[in-house]
């Protein structure tokens, strides 16, 4: 494959802006796509060309594989960048791009499918020597449950096989409680997910969510770019991320990084990806899943390493070997990302679509703003609630959080309720700024 020239950006919002920037910096043309609702959006104006792909509802535009493929052909693009969310981890979409003779900027379709299947990803991790949370295969009778539970260890989680996104999970303390709730759990799994299968998994108390950024080229080389701590979450939605993870022992940090690289190499990964782990108070860690795409929180890694991850994605997709040797990747300082969402913390984080009548963005040393909107735009009801990401770097945690406080003081959004006030409280919270916190901390804090 010889270099790329024209990239279709098959996404919207801030990540579309981010990818278009990277294309232009690399000397490539970028083609935007847009739905009815996004006709006048920022990324559409930034791109060299733009293609209308359908109705506002994402199913009829950004999730419409055929419409995106047609747009790529119409615009004569030679590659497709899927961003995050939408079709970014859809193996069938990646395969369709391949078969059309275009370059999918991401992993091979088979790897996307493997990482998207919970059980397949787990066994790949085990085969690569990466620890997974001890657990069972799906089981359906009380005898097996009673026999296998002590091997897993209590407390454990009773999980619906077909569940996901935190649903269909019950914590259980001992065998008696397990056998008591089993029939109800199976019935609920059947009615909620259409499948009564359940499995057991060890509970990891006080766990932190730590993830490792990797880059891999098409020639069998993979490197890591250190880790991010994403423990500040509510209902599995991250609100603040930090790199590097605070308070990790150096040996844990190294072991996490090398586990992530082992997995990437084992599955023949290509592109930018993230390997997610649970880390307990003792520094034991367990693989959760691999996100086979660029992530929302990638800028904090860019801030501490100086590596432009999206530029690396483009370079890898063009078939070039990694330009970075592991030894040459260094980190400096601390970066935090604040995800300001159009959600109202006073009303149980209800989404707040509407017009952004005023938007004042912060600046100054170490402060980066990634957003897909400009003043006067509408936060549409059809997509996610992200207004902007404020990314703040400092020499150390104190300076990074001080800059985060200043950035939030300068930031102002009017027209919709947002999480700005909550973020202001969080960056002054003594427990968070002392760190580290575990992944149920925020929910307990909110009460």
């Amino acid at each position: 494959m010889t270099g790329l020239q024209r990239v279709l950006v098959a996404n919207r919002g801030e990540i579309a802006v981010r990818v278009i920037r990277a294309c232009h910096v690399a000397g490539l043309e970028a083609v935007a796509v847009y739905s009815d609702a996004d006709e006048h959006a920022r990324w559409v104006r930034m791109a060299d060309d733009a293609v209308h792909i359908g109705r506002s509802a994402a199913q009829k535009s950004y999730l419409d594989s055929d419409a995106l493929l047609k747009a790529a052909r119409t615009a004569e693009a030679d590659a497709v960048h899927p961003g995050y969310g939408f079709l970014s981890e859809n193996g069938a979409f990646a395969r369709a791009i391949d078969e059309a003779g275009l370059v999918f900027i991401g992993p091979r379709p088979s790897v996307l499918e493997q990482m998207g299947d919970k059980a397949a990803a787990r066994s790949a991790a085990t085969a690569a020597g990466v620890p997974v949370v001890p657990g069972t295969d799906p089981i359906d009778n009380p005898e097996d449950v009673a026999r296998l539970a002590p091997e897993i260890g209590f407390p454990l989680l009773l999980k619906a096989s077909a569940g996901g996104g935190g649903r269909g999970i019950r914590p259980v303390r001992d065998v008696d409680e397990l056998l008591e709730v089993l029939p109800t759990a199976q019935a609920e799994a059947r009615s909620a997910f259409g499948d009564p299968a359940i499995y057991l998994e060890r509970a990891v108390p006080q766990a932190r969510h730590v993830e490792v950024q990797v880059l891999a080229d098409d020639h069998g080389h993979a490197v890591h770019l250190f880790e991010r701590d994403c423990s500040v979450q509510r209902r599995r939605q991250k609100l603040i991320e930090e790199a590097p993870a605070p308070g990790l022992r150096e040996e844990t940090r190294k072991a996490l990084a090398s586990a992530a690289v082992r997995l990437a190499e084992h599955v023949g990964y290509r592109g930018a990806g993230t390997v997610e782990f649970l880390v307990d108070a003792e520094g034991n860690f367990y693989f959760i899943e691999m996100n086979a795409r660029i992530q929302v929180e990638h800028p904090i890694t860019e801030m501490i390493t100086g590596v432009d991850l999206v530029a690396e994605q483009l370079s890898i997709a063009a078939g070039r070997p990694l330009s970075l040797a592991q030894e040459s990747i260094e980190r400096r300082g601390v970066a935090v990302e604040l995800r300001i969402n159009a959600e109202d913390p006073e009303r149980d984080f209800a989404p707040t679509p509407g017009e952004i009548s005023e938007l004042r963005l912060p600046g100054g040393p170490g402060v980066r703003v990634d957003t897909g909107i400009t003043q006067g735009d509408r936060i549409s009801p059809f997509y996610d609630s992200l207004i902007t990401k404020l990314i703040c770097w400092g020499d150390d945690r104190d300076q990074a959080y001080a800059r985060a406080r200043q950035a939030l003081a300068e930031f102002h959004v009017e027209g919709v309720a947002s999480t700005t006030g909550l973020h202001r409280r969080l960056v002054t919270d003594p427990e968070l700024t002392a760190g580290p916190v575990h992944s149920t901390w925020l929910e307990q804090r909110l009460g």
Partner: protein, 79 residues
């Protein structure tokens, strides 16, 4: 006859999940508080409930249609 109008903008769904049966069909008799549709707003699903006992007449939107505030989704008659 009266109407059930959207209280929020988003995407309208007639069924709880893509392969499930619709909550109701034209002619269904529903009770106050019963869920008759969903509106997805920024990935959050909000239930549309019947305000009173009624019989469903026309359903003006298809599964996955965009809906705006004040737009009529259902026509209903006293049960």
């Amino acid at each position: 006859m009266s109407t059930v109008d959207a209280q929020m903008p988003g995407v309208f769904y007639r069924r709880p999940s893509p392969d499930a049966d619709p909550f109701i069909e034209p002619g269904s008799v529903v009770q106050a508080g019963q869920t008759i549709g969903l509106i997805e707003v920024m990935k959050t699903f909000n239930e549309v409930k019947a305000e009173r006992d009624c019989r469903v007449g026309r359903i003006l939107l298809d599964d996955g249609d965009e809906v705006d505030v004040g737009q009529t989704m259902f026509e209903v008659d006293e049960a």
